[in-house]
């Protein structure tokens, strides 16, 4: 089984104009990869389906906008992969 990072990077490459080789663990999904909000919807939908979860994007966005969490915590690839793994683990325990 590929890592969460690899699976998410594959999804981003399939659902946007970003090349797979341009996606690194330190890439910021929006600032570095330039994913716009509509492509991000497609990507989140694909992640939801791939991992069988519901990525709480609205909650993350609210936390960032309210200054309660840095954007990097959710939108830098290695951290996004970690959050997805946490959601998958939480689902397995639920």
């Amino acid at each position: 089984m590929s890592s969460a990072f690899d699976r998410i990077a594959d999804i981003i490459a399939e659902n946007s104009e970003v090349k797979r080789e341009d996606i690194s663990p330190d890439s910021h999904v929006i600032n570095d990869l330039g994913i716009d909000s509509l492509d991000f919807l497609d990507i989140v939908f694909a992640i939801d389906k791939e991992f069988g979860i519901k990525v709480p994007v609205e909650q993350w966005t609210q936390e960032v906008n309210a200054g309660k969490a840095p954007a990097e915590q959710y939108f830098v690839m290695k951290n996004l992969a970690a959050r997805i793994e946490e959601l998958v683990a939480a689902k397995g325990q639920g």
Binding site: L38, L41, D42, D48, P56, V57
Partner: protein
């Protein structure tokens, strides 16, 4: 169906689980038909998409208890399989296939009689009603088309 007012859904037939079925009849006359096309009136494909989107929108509104307004964000795999003219009875169905965070994805299709007219996959963003007047108008329209409302 009043094309000039974008009132695409006449009445809700059923709402069960993740699926809604509605009916509508294309108008006998409309300025839209005068231009599309002179001497050969046809329902524009974009208005068929709008009809599917509104049907999916009513479904999402019903499922979220009118707490958030759906807005069309993406149309995929839209296929127009048969022409629709004035005075045609339409049966429209939509099924929510995914309930995401701040968005929903639905499939929808339109049939007329036994004829399959069109189908598509639709993505709708959902967000708190941006204006009280909009929420009031949506609730009023829901009652008019027979969509049951939460208190």
């Amino acid at each position: 169906m009043r094309l000039e007012h974008f009132l695409m859904v006449d009445r809700v037939v059923s709402l069960s689980g993740e699926e809604i079925r509605v009916e509508s009849t294309t108008p006998d006359t409309s300025p839209v038909f005068e231009g599309h096309f002179p001497g050969h009136p046809l329902m524009p494909g974009v208005l068929l998409v709008e009809t599917m989107a509104q049907t999916a929108g009513w479904l999402i509104l019903a499922l979220n208890g009118f707490s958030r307004m759906p807005f069309l964000a993406a149309v995929k795999e839209a296929k127009f399989r048969a022409f629709v003219g004035p005075g045609a009875p339409l049966s429209v169905s939509a099924t929510r296939i995914h309930d995401g965070s701040g968005y929903a994805v639905a499939t929808a299709r339109i049939e007329s009689g036994a004829k399959r007219i069109c189908d598509a996959e639709l993505t709708l963003r959902t967000m708190p009603f941006p204006a009280p007047d909009l929420e009031a108008a949506m609730r009023q329209r829901a009652a008019a088309i027979g969509l049951s409302l939460p208190a």
